[in-house]
Symmetry: D2
Subunit: 318 residues, 4 copies
Amino acid sequence: MNTFGRIFRLTDFGESHGEAIGGVIDGFPAGITMDSDFIQSELQRRSPSQHFHSTTRQESDQLRILSGIVDNLSTGAPIGFIINNEDGKKYDDAERFAIKPSHASYTYHRKYGFSDNEYFGRASARQTACRVVAGAFAKLVLRKIETAICAVDISNPQHVPGDDSVGALIACRIQGVPAGLGEPVYDKFHARLGYAMLSINGVKGFDIGKGFDASQMTGSEYNDAQKADFSYHSNHDGGVQAGITNGETIDFRVAFKPIPTIGKVQRTIDFDGNPVVLDAQSRNDRSVSPRVLPVVEAMAAMVTLDFILLHNAFSHEK
Amino acid sequence: MNTFGRIFRLTDFGESHGEAIGGVIDGFPAGITMDSDFIQSELQRRSPSQHFHSTTRQESDQLRILSGIVDNLSTGAPIGFIINNEDGKKYDDAERFAIKPSHASYTYHRKYGFSDNEYFGRASARQTACRVVAGAFAKLVLRKIETAICAVDISNPQHVPGDDSVGALIACRIQGVPAGLGEPVYDKFHARLGYAMLSINGVKGFDIGKGFDASQMTGSEYNDAQKADFSYHSNHDGGVQAGITNGETIDFRVAFKPIPTIGKVQRTIDFDGNPVVLDAQSRNDRSVSPRVLPVVEAMAAMVTLDFILLHNAFSHEK
Amino acid sequence: MNTFGRIFRLTDFGESHGEAIGGVIDGFPAGITMDSDFIQSELQRRSPSQHFHSTTRQESDQLRILSGIVDNLSTGAPIGFIINNEDGKKYDDAERFAIKPSHASYTYHRKYGFSDNEYFGRASARQTACRVVAGAFAKLVLRKIETAICAVDISNPQHVPGDDSVGALIACRIQGVPAGLGEPVYDKFHARLGYAMLSINGVKGFDIGKGFDASQMTGSEYNDAQKADFSYHSNHDGGVQAGITNGETIDFRVAFKPIPTIGKVQRTIDFDGNPVVLDAQSRNDRSVSPRVLPVVEAMAAMVTLDFILLHNAFSHEK
Amino acid sequence: MNTFGRIFRLTDFGESHGEAIGGVIDGFPAGITMDSDFIQSELQRRSPSQHFHSTTRQESDQLRILSGIVDNLSTGAPIGFIINNEDGKKYDDAERFAIKPSHASYTYHRKYGFSDNEYFGRASARQTACRVVAGAFAKLVLRKIETAICAVDISNPQHVPGDDSVGALIACRIQGVPAGLGEPVYDKFHARLGYAMLSINGVKGFDIGKGFDASQMTGSEYNDAQKADFSYHSNHDGGVQAGITNGETIDFRVAFKPIPTIGKVQRTIDFDGNPVVLDAQSRNDRSVSPRVLPVVEAMAAMVTLDFILLHNAFSHEK
């Protein structure tokens, strides 16, 4: 359940409280040239220390690759990696027993019998560092075929008090995706892409191309007709038709809810149902953006490479 | 690739042109009482003959169950089923060679080397009958634990010419879902739910709870606080927090694009890139709604039962 | 759990008591020319009516393909098929309540709460017809690359009374397998091959190359050295080294226990634990051989094609 | 491809040449009490320093658990672990370019384009330490239900020169396995058990119960009849009938080929096909036994726990 992907796969582990997080990247082709600087720079984009609104927690996020790379080339063996937790989160007792609203507190308690308030769980944003590592490896393969991914924040800026948090709306484009990727029924390209995005902490919505607006359009407005060179007059479908890529740019949006930890006092209950007041909490990011941009890109890269490898499986036989 | 689910699974086959569609339902618990009338009535809800705006094509959708049920009880063996195609689609040559805009024509051609115009592919809405069958079986188990699913059309009605098609916005609620379902990282409850919905033909968007609107809210507005009885003051999260159900109603939306086949003339190209005019096409549905409502419910039922079974795997050990 | 394979996959259903058995073949490449006569002839090799010692039950095993093939070519869509049960097994009450020794009677009862004596379960040899169909499809692809599979009975003939049954020892060779198939750790070529063989009804053992005899050899006797043209002086490893094919013939053995249904009276118990005498039973095969030969070959074909497709996934990237 | 298991799963990484090996154990139930001493002692059983005939290489095999355990209890989160490679293997140039007979040299070269002679691959026995760790965790759950596993060496001792290696025949028993585990068709209990065993380095054969001998028996000799208390008069089936456990002891055998690295000179070729003489090699184990016993047990434990969890998934519904 902690594995993502079919042929190109990430299996990861780790919580905030422990020594390290890490994972295993499987199904990575042999013979790919490593680019450690690039992978570390992707991690840096996700790192809190780089961003104005972000937490002051020190996360140097120094990646250690333990296998699968020799003489700067991938060997085809699984790539094991770890990232140490240099500054393990500490909780105070007041925080420990309150159910934090819209947080993992209560649902973890129901599922596992303990609360994630204590940072023993997997709900921490720190887990996304593993996604970024695997996504960076996927990008190394994708750039060989000139597939490029770029996520940007398109949230409407609002005047929000400094002690509150905000949601984020992210748009992402994947350019240079070959036509023919995706399965006609369940594993449609955008179905697995949406699954990937909805698995990121705090994501509450995904759409592709015209997305939700498409539901209010007519067929004659919407339909993407093609020119004599097979390029398209419009790309309302966002690069995927009938679940299969058509060679146009994949463009999709991902909606994040506001970070649940805020600088305001919140009325809640403890795990026994007693009313408690949750103090204003500090050291938080106010928005997931821009730290989440490399995470969105990483998941898109993993999905795309996975589909390319699956496509290869059948392309020999034609 | 034509299998959906992890423990409760549907594997299906079939195209419009052939004798029959059908599938195999695997991981269905033993000892569940069959309700053929209910399953057939779910199929009927999806059937074109029941709806005003729908195609006049005769699809009696008579389900034949070939295995897994004895004396009206499930045996634990896989349930094989087929539904005959009584009125196979015919295409005329003019249609055969034109790339239908926003349809499976071009992408199938790129993936498989032939066009789905010829009804040899899987992009037909007819495939969704198999989803409805598997979903109806899942509902038989869910109703034992009083989990109920209801999808409704919340599209804004618009004045649209009769020869054009429209999109659809569907809202769905799952009530009575036990708390604790879902995995913390990749297989979040709503991630697999979104994956299921995005795999339905024509779906371009999915969100849960406040969904896309959440991206424009602040944390203090959004956060769902709990009362002394652990019920919630609000349900902006749509029943899923940190990927795990919290016992509240799951509510989500699914955005469908307009049906690409329209009654208007369209300018397009043929498979050699020559400009062609695609005649106004008849015998189409104008909207996927209301036929798609049982399909949305079916996928939701399959996802929920799959999570319940996976949850059971670990609940003995506690 | 009723699915076999990773990329090339068979999901099947059906019991002896029902209308039909059948399945879905997924991951079959597009553009492969069908050969219905060949597939039917493979089914015929498995059919009881063809063999001297076999049951007299009429099983015409007429295959009906319902999808995935158009104009005699595969389309890449899943291949749905059914085979009608023309002559459904009947049980008499005496048989119904006795636990048949070394049969599925008791274990089915423990797992599902009912007995497979009543032919509601999946333990029937009839299920293997689905394996033969999928294997025949796999062979259609394999013969394009000149990979050939042949199973033979190498049991030592013994003088056994006519009312008893015998076990069988089958040897199988796969010739023309490309080098480089198989994964180094869990999905070793012979690990998946063994898994496939051990999943056939009645199989109690599998070995490859020198197999069990290898455990009594020394390294200097055993080691397969190579010549200047990379061919091997010996093939004690049976074509697989470190889990990966080396281009030599794959040769392996499969041990079947005696068919549990015999023509002799057996003392057993009923499902309440009362001693009963199970009458001599008729209409049985005395040996699984030769009917099982096409089943062994079919599983070998499915495993080999699955590995070839997975190998293709990565061969583009080199 | 470096993942073993369906619900209880190990994904591992690492080669001899690198810093560390390790893995991720997923699907481990929450609330299980850790027993680090036991896990370390299992590793010690596999460790070369413990055994007379074994290599002198120092492998302290000190396990570091990085996640999933808090206050000595499992949390339900994945368990990440690493074991440092304190004494990385060094190769000399003479060894580097020779194809070692019956070793991973040639097949790795064909699959990945480089040779495992250089210890960059996964064929090292060192990988089995990860299996032992995951198996030890599985045993912690199994001993709660009084399921116990024991492997012993039943090779016939032979007088073999000290510079040669020998094969090994291992017998293993799993006692206290609940009846009802296993799937009737592909995922038969012994099919997955055999798959697990055949995935261990050097294994060439697997059988269960009477195994290969069963192929030479008659039904009347072989059939396991039951007494009034449902216990069995004999256990020729080795505890599995029709793929499902019957509550009797599971007993099976695993045949290992001789270790390919020997102390004798071998004539072979290099990767260009030139004849070379491979010097007598030192620092080798002469037999896989007794180091492999905990590996066999570990794989058996993993398979058994996986089946128990899958069984639980459906037992609630009965």
